[in-house]
């Protein structure tokens, strides 16, 4: 995806060239966002990294924001696929699905620092469409977490708004790790997030045990 096509006459269909240029622009946008703040990223920056001309940029995207959103959407699809693959096995119980979902999300973000910065940090400063995308992702995850009210015994009375608040709070923890340059170690906050997300839907002791077992499992993987 990063390889530039040979310049000059190459007899490649125009559609293919445009796709390759578009991919390079998306990649450059993500890389630029990983290195500096979205506000400081310029179109000049992106086109020079992608080695395409400014006019090509504007043939493909109306502005910087459109390119940002396209870059975000391109990785989001992979993110969602991986998280669903990790946690949607029907033999898993609801708390196990939550645990594996958290783990898969944090691992993905740790492996894709550019995407992590875009979707958890820059989404707030990249305009209203970006913010709306961020909020709808949070709402989607919260709807799954809110399943705890019916999946777990005697928890129908947990207020519906709690899931949205704990998921948003978890995002704040993740943001603090990214801003503090600890993106690579994101999985380490998984047990803490698991506790906060599960605790409304089970006894405190059980949420604690699950969080502790998750931490042991992560440590085991580290030393293995």
């Amino acid at each position: 995806m990063n390889d530039r096509l040979p310049s000059g006459r190459h007899n490649l269909p125009r559609e293919f060239v445009v796709t390759s240029q578009r991919d390079r622009l998306l990649d450059s946008m993500a890389q630029a966002c990983a290195e500096k703040r979205y506000a400081e990223v310029s179109v000049a920056d992106i086109v020079s990294r992608a080695r395409v001309s400014r006019s090509t940029f504007y043939e493909i995207f109306p502005d910087k924001e459109a390119c940002f959103l396209a870059a975000y959407d391109a990785i989001l699809g992979r993110f969602v696929t991986e998280v669903i693959k990790a946690c949607q096995d029907p033999v898993l119980t609801w708390p196990e699905q939550i645990e594996l979902g958290i783990e898969a999300s944090l691992r993905f973000l740790a492996a894709e620092p550019a995407f992590a910065r875009m979707c958890i940090v820059d989404m707030f400063s990249a305009g209203p469409s970006a913010l709306e995308r961020y909020l709808s992702a949070v709402r989607l995850i919260a709807a799954f977490v809110d399943g705890g009210r019916t999946q777990m015994p005697d928890r129908e009375d947990v207020p519906e708004s709690i899931a949205l608040m704990t998921v948003s709070g978890a995002a704040v923890v993740i943001r603090a790790e990214i801003v503090g340059d600890r993106t690579q170690d994101l999985p380490a906050v998984g047990p803490d997030l698991l506790y906060s997300i599960l605790v409304p839907y089970m006894e405190r002791e059980e949420a604690t045990r699950r969080s502790e077992r998750f931490a042991e499992r992560l440590e085991g993987q580290l030393t293995a």
Partner: protein, 229 residues
């Protein structure tokens, strides 16, 4: 959100121009405070991105040179304004936490949250700057947010004194609660509904209590929370 200012109306008023015999540091402090207040008012009105240094100096009634004597740039001034708003929010939380007659932690936490929500509902400008723009403004402001929020943690972590094996409650617990509270305030404030904030106090009480004392106690805390209007 135009602000009318009366001459000499305390800290926010512009000092009389010309020779006034005031010490230079008094003048500087007054100008700094006016610029910070101007930043808060203008950002609340049209958002950080649209705010310009020209807006700030005209609202504060100072020269451009004065602005750049005290602030490196727009973001620097915003960081100062943001710190001022967070300080006020923290003061309301601390006051609510300590003046609540009840001496149990749940009562104090309720007092703190009620005080914060009442303040923000009456000062939507503070909600807009402290929460909405604090999330979205420049990176320096964002880094400050991370520091500023940790000042709220001790009010929550005080609940650890009430449980056996407090160290088994994960360290990030308070940050998740504060993040959840800010997210709900963000949702109300960014849709222009800051005045409705006190209505969400019961759910926030549940959120604050559940990781420390569990579901049953959180339900009691929520049911015993009356919404003040």
């Amino acid at each position: 959100m135009a602000q009318t200012r009366k001459k000499g109306s305390g800290l926010n008023g512009k000092l009389p121009s010309g020779r006034h015999g005031l010490a230079r540091d008094v003048v500087i402090t007054s100008q700094r405070e006016r610029m910070i207040e101007a930043m808060i008012a203008v950002v609340a009105g049209k958002g950080y991105a649209e705010t310009t240094v020209a807006d700030i100096i005209s609202n504060a009634g100072v020269s451009r040179a004065t602005f750049y004597e005290q602030f490196a740039d727009k973001e620097d001034c915003f960081v100062a304004a943001y710190a001022a708003v967070m300080e006020r929010m923290l003061a309301f939380v601390a006051q609510g936490f300590s003046t609540e007659e009840s001496d149990d932690w749940v009562g104090r936490a309720r007092g703190a949250l009620r005080s914060l929500l009442t303040y923000l509902s009456e000062n939507p400008v503070a909600a807009r700057v402290g929460i909405v723009e604090g999330f979205g403004a420049g990176a320096r402001a964002r880094d400050r947010y991370q520091e500023a929020v940790s000042a709220f943690f001790p009010f929550l972590d005080a609940a650890r004194d009430l449980v056996d094996e407090p160290d088994r409650i994960p360290p990030q617990t308070a940050r998740v609660v504060v993040g959840g509270v800010s997210a709900l305030i963000f949702a109300e404030a960014s849709s222009g509904n800051a005045s409705r904030l006190p209505e969400v106090l019961p759910q926030m009480m549940y959120l604050a209590v559940v990781p420390y004392l569990g579901h049953e106690e959180a339900m009691v805390a929520m049911r015993e929370t009356e919404v003040s209007r």
